[in-house]
Each structure stands twice: as C-alpha cells, then as structure tokens.
C-alpha cells in the first residue's frame, strides 16, 4: 500500500462530482471545514493553484474563483508572488444562540411532520431552500451597489418533486 503525499501545503482537496454543488464552492467549503476542525489556522498557506489543478484536474479559473470567494468572506488573503494565506477566522455562534436555533428548528420539524411531510420530503425541502438561500446570499454579497438584491425567485406552491 502506498501513501501518497499530495503537496507541501496543509490541505488536500477532493471533489464530489455528484453533489450538485459547484466545484468552487466545494473547495470553499472544504477550507472552511478545515478551519473549523483545526487543520488550518491563521497564517497557513493554501495550496497553490497549480498544485490543486494538477491533483484534481480542474480548470484553474475554478480555483481562482474559490480563493477569491474565501477572500470575500474574509477568510484568506492573496499575496502577489507568494500565494494565498489564511487570515481571519470563522464566526463562532454562541451557545445561547445555538440553543435558540435548535429549538426553532425542532418546532419547524413538528410543524412539517403534522403537515404530512415524511423524512425524505423534509430533507428535500430543506436542501432546496438552503441552496436557494446560499445562492441569493452570494448574489447579495456580489452586488456592486451594496444594496440587497431582490434575487429571490418567487416560491412555488407546487408539490416538491
């Protein structure tokens, strides 16, 4: 059995092609996850674009987009000629807030269950709403005027597929 060393940097990326999540977002999420779990910390260098691209065989523009997004979220900074480095930290949500969120979620689950939604239906509804939310939040961040965009599409009242 061989153990392959991907690169000198602290993080090795992998892709999930079936997840429906755009590639660049997957990279962003993996960096955030690594930060959360402590594999990456302030000052660590992210893999160079060339290294990522050679490991995953993806378009360099995708990696650039991911690193730009990380800069946008305040998690990384690019230094010309040197690379991209971890800056900032993820925002931590306090225990009190987390409990309140947990309770709100439990209430919602009860409501959904009473309405007749089964577990898969609940999951599908949640996933699609979460995805929409993420896209709209990204659109909102990117709008140059600074005002919140009305990127939300009108919601459907039809049955979830």
């Amino acid at each position: 059995m061989t153990i392959e060393k991907q690169s000198e940097s602290a993080l090795g990326f992998r892709l999930d092609p079936g997840s429906g999540v755009p590639t660049y977002l997957q990279l962003v999420q993996q960096v955030e996850q690594a930060l959360r779990l402590g594999y990456l910390s302030h000052g660590d260098q992210l893999p160079t674009v060339k290294d990522v691209v050679e490991t995953l065989a993806i378009n360099p523009n995708t990696v650039l987009k991911a690193y730009r997004e990380l800069e946008h979220r305040g998690l990384a900074v690019g230094r010309p000629g040197q690379g991209t480095f971890i800056e900032g930290t993820l925002r931590h949500v306090g225990i009190v807030e987390q409990n309140a969120l947990r309770k709100a979620l439990a209430d919602w689950l009860h409501t959904a269950d009473a309405a007749g939604l089964d577990v898969d239906g609940i999951e599908a509804l949640f996933t699609s709403e979460l995805r929409d939310f993420q896209e709209n939040r990204d659109l909102g961040r990117r709008s140059t005027s600074g005002a919140r965009t009305s990127g939300r599409r009108p919601k459907q009242s039809g049955a979830v597929a």
Binding site: G20, A57, N59, P60, V63, Q156
Partner: protein, 295 residues
C-alpha cells in the same frame, strides 16, 4: 483578445458540407470544450483553425487576426491531432530533437524537464510507448514551443481512465503555469464540467451553442410541471427540449428573470444535461447575438 474568430465559416468535401455557417468569437484565457457527436465537424473546425485545411466559405482567423497556417500562427499554436500522431520509429530523444528543429521558439529545458518528470526513456521508440505516454509526449512537444493557445483534437479518446486523469492534470497544470488558452474537442461530455469554462456545441456541421459555461448554467433551468400545460407555459422561455414522463414534463429552457408559471418548479441543470438536450434537438441554438460578438 479572441483566440478564434470566424464568420460564415464553411467547409465542403465534394458535395457534403462538413461545416456550415459557423460564427465564432472565442475569448482567450479560457479552456474551451468543443463537443458534438462523431462526424459533427469538430475535426474540420480544428483543422481549419490550424491551417491544415482551407475554408470553402467564410473566413477564419486566430489570435486576433493571424491567418491559420501562416508562420506566426504556426508558432503561436500548439496542435495535437487526433490519436497524437508522432513518428513511431524514432526514439523519444530523436523525436524531441526533430520537433526542436522544426520549431524556432523551442524551450528545450521545459521539454526535457517534462519528459524526465513523465519518466519516458529517451532511447525507447515512440511506437513502443503506451497510448497515455504517447499522448503525454505529444502534449510535451506542443507545450515546449511556448504557444499562446493549445488546440487538441480528442486528446482523451484512446486513453484509459488513469491516463486520462494524468493528461488532464498535466494540461491544467500547464494552463495554471502559463496562462494558456486551450481548445479541445471531445465526444465525451460527462467530465467536461470540471475542466471547461467555455463551451461550443457542433451538430451535423452546424453551430448550436457557443458561450461561457457559467452563463449557460446560470441561464438554463429545468422547469418541471404538469404535462398538459408545459408547452404553452414555457413558450416564452426559449425552450430547448421538453421531456414528457407520465403526468409530468421536464422543460429545459431559459426563463431569464421572468416569473415561473404556477405549478412549475425550477431546478438547476448540469452541463451534461444542457449539452445532451441540445444534441437531441438539432434545431435549438444558444448563440450570442450580433451585439455580443467580441472584436
């Protein structure tokens, strides 16, 4: 700057038109995928771009005004034809020497560096290398002349999955390092989304789609709803293809910012879905209008 520009480009062999009425403005700095079924005209288009063939109609120029096949164009374009043709009876070292003598701008260090990294024995005959190794050698030669754009005709066709991955890794690494533009043709669609950021779809010699992948994925949506209403409800959305299954219809279309009709849900689509839908509907097209053709 445009890597490739054509107006009304057409090519006829005897009586059949292999390519017709092709208007393209492909921007630089992209990895461009040219897809279509076998016989769609992909090889013809690429051969026109590198000067191996002359157009029967229309015109084509590369890299902002160079004529295909001119000396300047030959220097600036690295081309690997289908099946990566090389001189099979020459050893690797002689093959490189030959390529060096044919190309004035040759970067020998890069060539020998890559060959060493790839582990190709210099004394071994090219014909004795595996398919993947030959493809990598052809890519090395194309890269060593320091081109501004790489044009590859079905580079992955004969490669096994590992060789394919390694070839793509090499290619993307080179793009990351040099900022090359790449134009490659493929009739396998499923692996394109990771690599391509610009898409051209050819079908039976006609251009169907030409645009940035991000745009295509953002503008095309799958609308799913009741079958009876599908056609008229989506008529204004430039529907590409309507798939009917049971009581439902799935409509691939471009809703833009318009409100979605009641009873329909909106879903994002993958690049493979988009391409397959267009290939199944030869009359549909997603082409930039005249205002969007870049100069």
């Amino acid at each position: 700057m445009n890597v490739l520009e054509s107006h009304g480009l057409g090519k006829r062999y005897r009586r059949a038109w292999a390519l017709r009425d092709c208007n393209l403005a492909v921007p630089a700095g992209h990895v461009v995928a040219l897809v279509g079924p076998n016989g769609a005209g992909k090889t013809t288009l690429l051969h026109l771009a590198v000067g191996l063939t002359r157009a029967s109609a229309g015109d084509i120029c590369v890299l902002d005004g160079l004529a295909p096949g001119s000396t300047a164009a030959l220097d600036a374009i690295g081309f690997v034809a289908q099946d990566a043709p090389l001189y099979k009876n020459l050893p690797v070292a002689d093959m490189l020497h030959l390529a060096r003598n044919l190309n004035p701008g040759w970067d020998d260090q890069r060539a020998s560096g890559r060959v060493a990294d790839l582990g190709l024995p210099p004394r071994k005959k090219v014909g004795a290398l595996s398919g993947g190794q030959q493809a990598q050698l052809a890519l090395t030669i194309a890269l060593a002349k320091r081109p501004r754009v790489l044009i590859l005709d079905e580079p992955l066709a004969r490669l096994d999955p590992l060789a394919r991955h390694e070839f793509m890794s090499s290619l993307m690494g080179a793009v990351a390092e040099d900022g090359l533009s790449v134009l490659f043709s493929s009739h396998v669609v499923s692996e394109l989304e990771r690599v391509a950021d610009y898409l051209i779809v050819l079908n039976s010699g006609q251009l169907q789609v030409s645009g940035e992948v991000d745009d295509l994925l953002a503008t095309h949506k799958m609308l799913i709803g009741p079958r009876e209403q599908a056609t008229e409800a989506t008529a204004a959305f430039s529907p590409v293809r309507i798939n009917q299954a049971g009581a439902q219809a799935q409509v691939l279309c471009r809703p833009a910012d318009r409100p979605v009709p009641a009873g329909f849900s909106v879903h994002a689509v993958s690049l493979e879905e988009v391409v397959l839908a267009y290939l199944r509907e030869p009359s549909a097209a997603a082409l930039p209008g005249p205002a969007m053709v870049l100069r």
